[in-house]
């Protein structure tokens, strides 16, 4: 018996809790537990379907990362190191496997989307990915989940023209470096201005090189900017760029650390803003790419508001 397509499938896995970052670290397992609890107790989300992730095959990881980095990462966890390259990047024995499983969530989701088994998908994963570079980790990120998913969609299903829209408070330097020389892959990011914010990249004049000129759109916001400033960009430059781009598929790097209560950035978004973002990405994907929409969790560290922020975003995704 074939099940009717679910409106929204959440790809997650209890293994994601096994990436142990030690004490005094913002990127902790409780982030996911809180999100899942919030989504499960919301009665209006009764139609949500939950699926487990699967590990990304090595060759898909290698589409994004140098083998030398994968070896180094694997070796570091197996040898019992507690961090890699920087004390920000805390690891434990399970971290490599968990990161590969997080990178595989997008693949599992894309299969479901392409087989018509779900209308949209949201990967609730950790560790996050958008800071991870080809050969090294950055800012709590080890494998670039969004870019691995992008490569899979482009190569396995021929959805060549692809956009990643990133509303995490921080610039996704790893996604930018993957896309900045490519004519078919667009990266659009709204983030706190790099003069004040980690990782110090994402200036508006970074627009891509060579064939990729114009494939990067960085929209920095000043510290203190909130809903009004984000919505102006969302309904203005972002909507316009994605409309002109005419993508075959859309990936959203969904980070919730721009919330006014989240100390990881100086942005001042409200919880309700995430619903509007959800509505917009849903609308764009229906207008421009046949509804092919995949969201992947990035940051969001303030546990008192993370659950409700993700709830609001999901509410937006489900709007008609």
């Amino acid at each position: 018996m074939r099940l009717p397509p679910s409106l929204l499938t959440l790809i997650t896995d209890s293994r994601f809790l096994d990436h142990d970052t030690g004490c005094d670290h913002p990127e902790i397992p409780a982030r996911l537990q809180i999100i899942l609890a919030a989504l499960k107790q919301n009665d209006s989300f009764a139609g949500l379907r939950f699926e487990n992730s699967r590990p990304a095959e090595r060759h898909w990881l290698q589409e994004v990362h140098d083998e030398s980095w994968l070896f180094r990462f694997e070796e570091a966890v197996l040898s019992g190191k507690t961090s890699i390259d920087h004390t920000d990047n805390q690891i434990c024995y399970d971290s490599y496997e968990v990161a590969a499983l997080a990178a595989g969530a997008g693949l599992a989701a894309i299969d479901l989307l392409e087989q018509g088994q779900t209308e949209q998908a949201f990967c609730l994963v950790r560790p996050p990915g958008h800071h991870a570079e080809r050969v090294r980790p950055f800012g709590f990120c080890f494998l670039n989940n969004c870019v691995v998913a992008a490569r899979y969609w482009q190569q396995r299903y021929g959805r060549k023209r692809l956009v990643v829209f990133d509303f995490d408070a921080h610039h996704g330097n790893g996604i930018q470096s993957a896309f900045e020389r490519e004519a078919d892959s667009l990266y659009v990011s709204i983030h706190e201005h790099p003069s004040f914010s980690y990782p110090g990249t994402g200036y508006s004049d970074e627009q891509g090189f060579g064939d990729g000129r114009g494939s990067i759109l960085n929209l920095p916001l000043s510290p203190g900017a909130g809903d009004e400033q984000l919505l102006a960009l969302l309904n203005g430059q972002v909507a316009e760029k994605i409309g002109q781009w005419q993508p075959d598929a859309m990936i959203v790097a969904a980070g919730f650390d721009g919330h006014r209560a989240d100390e990881m950035s100086g942005l001042r978004y409200s919880t309700g803003l995430y619903e509007k973002i959800g509505q917009s990405v849903r609308r764009w994907s229906n207008l421009h790419c046949g509804g092919r929409l995949l969201s992947i969790l990035e940051g969001g560290y303030e546990l008192t508001v993370l659950g409700e922020s993700v709830e609001a975003y999901v509410q937006g995704l489900l709007s008609q």
Partner: protein
């Protein structure tokens, strides 16, 4: 902070007797804007810029016959005819600050670097920008700039540094700038960590307030 680390070494040079079309070709092909002019011994005799060349060529506003005549003359002219001769040079021991002050004073785009009168390099305002970008860590991946409210207390900088070092928080730049308008100091700290909230809290607990 000597410019020798940042200058272009052994730059392309031209001789005073080179014909203008040839000099123009060199500038366009290499996408240069300045060329040092040297004698047989490599000694600086002048500088030639893309702007000098542009103004040497006849304006398109001229009548066709006049333009052709002027054009013929330019094609026969040599570098020595249009180069600027009274140019200032830097030395490998010049500092970035020397270069900045000279650029600022003379509105120059690039300066030759001389050793015993010989051209050993060229240093442009773009090289200067790149050097300062590196010095201040602008665009450095994995860093963040934090403003700190200077309360004017004795030993304030020491307290900041000690606190960071005790907690093994990597940082790479610490600047204290006097703000004449407000009569106080501003402090900027470049942290190389993503755990910003922890650092802000740590500083706050020690009575050190961060500002945007």
């Amino acid at each position: 902070m000597y410019i020798s680390r940042y200058m272009i070494k052994e730059p392309l040079t031209v001789t005073p007797d080179m014909l203008l079309p040839e000099a123009r070709r060199l500038l366009t092909e290499n996408n240069f804007r300045h060329l040092p002019v040297v004698d047989r011994d490599g000694r600086l005799v002048g500088m030639i810029t893309d702007r000098d060349l542009r103004s040497a060529y006849p304006s398109s506003m001229l009548a066709e016959s006049e333009r052709l005549l002027a054009y013929e003359q330019v094609e026969k002219a040599v570098v020595a005819d249009i180069m600027s001769v009274d140019c200032v040079g830097l030395t490998p021991e010049s500092t970035l600050d020397d270069a900045l002050l000279l650029f600022d004073r003379d509105r120059m785009g690039a300066l030759p670097v001389l050793e015993d009168g010989r051209v050993v390099g060229i240093f442009s305002s773009r090289d200067l920008l790149a050097a300062y970008k590196e010095l201040f860590g602008i665009g450095e991946k994995g860093s963040v700039l934090l403003g700190i409210d200077d309360n004017g207390q004795k030993g304030f900088m020491t307290r900041i540094v000690t606190l960071l070092e005790q907690h093994e928080i990597p940082f790479t730049r610490l600047l204290r700038i006097y703000d004449a308008e407000h009569g106080n100091h501003r402090i900027y700290l470049r942290l190389n960590t993503f755990k910003i909230a922890q650092v802000v809290n740590l500083l706050r607990e020690a009575g050190i307030n961060t500002v945007v």
